[in-house]
Symmetry: C2
Subunit: 448 residues, 2 copies
């Protein structure tokens, strides 16, 4: 094993970048376009980056541009970006097993003393990840396809649409082949519920799903969920509930004023779920007002759980931020939650993520506003767009295709970093050599 291979994060980043390039070439091929449509390489690249990072921001009209072959390629890009490379990422975390206890724990959970060899344990874990993902997608496709039978003459067409919708929801890609996202289903709570469940399954984190399956299998009362699972799941649902309430509260006298109570509830719940990272929408985002758009930007920046199909700073970073605040305000030195102590290194990681994220988002907004200063693009539109790209969400106020090439490049960079994760990107650049560790004495300084 050579030096380069010993950095799994570099492998992930490279895998993402390579996939994006390959798919951009495929999208550029005229054989995948509708007759008479010509696509620039720039649009092909943006579509590819958006698909592989499962973001869903688009500069083109997908359904008018691609033929069924193109849609198939798109599905493949989404599937690979959402699950394939995700599995690679999980593998990378595993490889660092000696450093990350969760991985070891996961390994134990999956293997349950049945597997002697560590490598076969890893392979088994990865195959179960893929099997579980395909099962969930298949179930979603079956349910949605069967339900869609009423809208289509051909059952084949209905199931094809169902399969794509299920794929798009589970991978949180947010792409749609109807050209209008979920707007036709604004009053169809069944489709919305299935979609939300699929979105949850994809963005709640694969380790969580694995542990849940193991919990059901074990049928033991002694089964203990990992701190990671408890923390990320609690945070995920807290953000979801607060998000839904916030959206309803801010919009109740505005866009929601003329709606019935269940329509208000449905829209608030759906948009809170979709800002996690799905980016599907039942109404045009432009219908919402400034406060709720700011709030949704915040939700998109938070994003989904780590090791999921989502992006953003991740739920655990938010949780560690909040917990550090609490313990600091209480004058405690260590951060405790669920009867466990958060490791100092994880606190440091959260600090690094928050610092880079703040700087990166500010830089991205500054750059785009500079590139677009002769256009009518507003700060609000750019904030929503950058939050959406970094959170790989894909909700937009519709400026994506109007942006200049440099601005679109900025968005692409945000999508890649948002998807791969700040820590992983940072680690992938890190040299393997360790700097000499001198012993320095500590000296206190004044902070804030």
């Amino acid at each position: 094993m050579n030096r380069k291979k010993s950095n799994p994060f570099r492998v992930i980043l490279f895998a993402y970048l390579l996939s994006m390039f390959v798919f951009s070439v495929l999208f550029y091929l005229p054989m995948f376009h509708e007759p008479g449509v010509s696509l620039t390489y720039r649009d092909a690249l943006f579509t590819s980056v958006s698909a592989v990072s499962v973001t869903g921001l688009v500069t083109i009209n997908v359904v008018e541009t691609f033929n069924w072959g193109g849609i198939l390629i798109l599905s493949l890009a989404i599937q690979l970006g959402g699950i394939g490379i995700m599995t690679l990422a999980t593998f990378a975390w595993m490889m660092l097993g000696r450093r990350i206890n969760l991985s070891q724990r996961l390994l134990i959970i999956v293997d349950q003393n049945r597997v002697q060899n560590q490598f076969s344990g890893l392979v088994r874990l990865m195959s179960s990840l893929i099997v579980i993902a395909l099962c969930i997608e298949g179930a979603g496709a079956l349910i949605l396809g069967t339900y869609y039978l009423r809208f289509f003459d051909e059952p084949f067409e209905a199931y094809l649409q169902g399969a794509f919708a299920s794929l798009s929801a589970f991978t949180n890609a947010g792409f749609d082949v109807t050209g209008q996202s979920l707007a036709p289903f604004v009053d169809d709570y069944f489709v919305q519920c299935i979609t939300i469940l699929l979105v949850f399954a994809g963005s709640i984190g694969f380790p969580v799903i694995l542990e849940c399956i193991e919990y059901i299998k074990s049928r033991k009362r002694t089964f203990k969920f990992s701190l990671f699972t408890k923390l990320t799941t609690t945070t995920y649902f807290l953000v979801f509930v607060i998000g839904a309430f916030g959206i309803w509260f801010l919009e109740r006298d505005l866009a929601f004023a003329t709606l019935s109570w269940h329509e208000q509830l449905a829209q608030a719940v759906f948009f809170s779920a979709t800002t996690r990272s799905a980016g599907l929408s039942t109404v045009d985002l432009a219908a919402f007002h400034i406060p709720v758009l700011l709030f949704m930007s915040l939700l998109m920046m938070i994003g989904a759980s780590p090791s999921s199909v989502g992006g953003g700073i991740r739920t655990t970073t938010l949780a560690v931020m909040a917990l550090t605040l609490r313990s600091f305000a209480m004058g405690k030195k260590h951060v405790h939650v669920f009867g466990r102590r958060i490791h100092e290194e994880d606190q440091q990681k959260s600090f690094v993520v928050l610092s880079i994220f703040t700087g990166l988002l500010f830089l991205a907004i500054l750059l785009i506003m500079t590139f677009e200063q002769d256009t009518p693009v507003t700060l609000l539109q750019v904030l929503v767009e950058t939050a959406s790209a970094f959170g790989t969400c894909g909700l937009s106020l519709g400026i994506t295709s109007d942006l200049s090439l440099p601005s679109q490049v900025v968005l692409m960079v945000l999508m890649v970093i948002g998807r791969v994760g700040i820590i992983a990107v940072l680690f992938s650049f890190k040299g393997d050599r360790k700097g000499e560790q001198y012993q320095y004495s500590t000296e206190r300084i004044l902070i804030g």
Copy 2:
């Protein structure tokens, strides 16, 4: 000594709030107004909060509202807010000497083994702080007053104007009694230089000035500056230089296009210095373009050094952010700089400051945009305004007086927190009782 008194941060916060109330009543008294002017209590309170927090955001025209008695009260409010309460804050840090090594170090520097009694050492330190501040202000007043002789018939008037300008610059208050800030001096580099030097002196941090004086006094080559002084001063000047370059770079083909090289340099340098927290301006902020306004907002959010007359997240927080990133990217566990190690607790504090700041600024913007949603106020204007209030800077795109009462309350809260400092505010709310410290085992989680 009772329980309440044992929390010095509560004393500082209370001192600030009490001063703000007292001065709001004074500002409200008709005897301090120009004839025929009537001031609402709301405007009096806003002026008071802005003056005591040395921010300089105004809802009224100071020179048209207050008579010379009122201006005197205003000067007193600024002096107290900038230096008096600052001294109290330093005293508070001293009282926590057992926990903060810098204070002990400072104490040693000032006392130089000459003072046996700790309390008399503190008193001596505080009086030297006040004496130094008054000396710097006096020198500024003398220089500016003498220079102003050419503009005024009465020498008394010239020195009065010089004294106020010196006070306003050194305390970084940014108030002016000419009604046009430094705009009349846009081509007068002498006044600008003196102003910038005064702004530096006020915002670079009192401990730094004390150590510099001690360094000059000691004449020893063995004198060692504290880590705090090295770190905050380096960061301060880095931010200043990068700020000036950034402003010039972003504006070079726009507002600066028709200016000569030295006018460009002067404006870039002046605005970089003033965003530290002074808020004085040589040209109307509205002349600048969106990218540079975003950049200046960032500079204002960073703010000045701790234990200075400035606000913001403080230079040390930024430095610890950057250093943590560097050491994390290099795979080092500890953060080293200048041959010393940053204490884990200071890293945690920086994390807390950044977390609260991010949340607070977002909440403030969200609230103001909600309160102002029926007005033409834009997100950019609100961003500049909130950054300015939190950094106690006072630069504004001119919306302050148009905002509704709830929005102005938000700004006032930001000014107080920005001035007192996030950590101090947090500590002032903290109960004295220590929570029982259970021993929990550490468990790793996935971050970002």
